[in-house]
Symmetry: C2
Subunit: 127 residues, 2 copies
């Protein structure tokens, strides 16, 4: 494993959180998880590759939807246990619900309010 990957403090499951931000708008699109292989593949393929905890396999973001995240830069935090990606979000949709980003619910008056439109019906995205 190359030195830059060794310097990351993987958790007891070999994972770290990866925050993904739209390089142009600055919007935080999503957070997912990466193992060392996913992060290496992200660099090699210049697109975001995560580790799906629910499916227990590598997740090439956009493999079904086409909503690939082209890599702009990779950062790590002071404790070396969180990754921050800047990406170009192809299709302008990061969320599986068809919204621009996963953080479409805002806390207001003690309730979660959806304040982002569905850009594309998920049934059309995942055919």
């Amino acid at each position: 494993m190359p030195g830059w990957l060794q310097q990351i403090k993987w958790d007891d499951k070999g994972l770290v959180p990866a925050i993904t931000q739209d390089a142009k708008s600055g919007k935080v699109l999503m957070m997912a998880w990466m193992n060392a292989e996913a992060l290496q593949l992200t660099l090699d393929n210049q697109r975001a590759v995560y580790w799906s905890r629910s499916r227990q396999k590598l997740w090439f973001k956009g493999e079904e939807s086409g909503h690939v995240q082209k890599l702009v830069e990779i950062r790590v935090d002071c404790d070396a246990d969180v990754i921050l990606l800047q990406v170009e979000q192809i299709g302008g949709i990061a969320c599986h619900t068809g919204r621009r980003r996963c953080f479409y619910r805002l806390l207001k008056d003690g309730q979660w309010y959806e304040d982002e439109q569905v850009i594309k019906n998920p049934a059309e995205i995942y055919q």
Copy 2:
């Protein structure tokens, strides 16, 4: 526990990741962890309160440094297992290293490069 807190999917340790973003610059400042009490206290006190996993106690961000994070908004993601805060970062320093943000290392040519200045010496911050 109020309904909005019950809707969050806490992990097996009762925690969720909380991403904190500067409301003005859009920079992602840090990621830490919250339990239900920390999130409720964040709302009640209108400032970021985390759960310190290393110290196993509530962490009122800025309690020692003065670098309080004033709450602007709280969001949750599609899976209800990640929180996104927008904050006003008092003092302009989020990181314990004295930098604006924790993500001060950029991957370049297979190495991590520090590309953010230390604004204030940590020895002066934590006296």
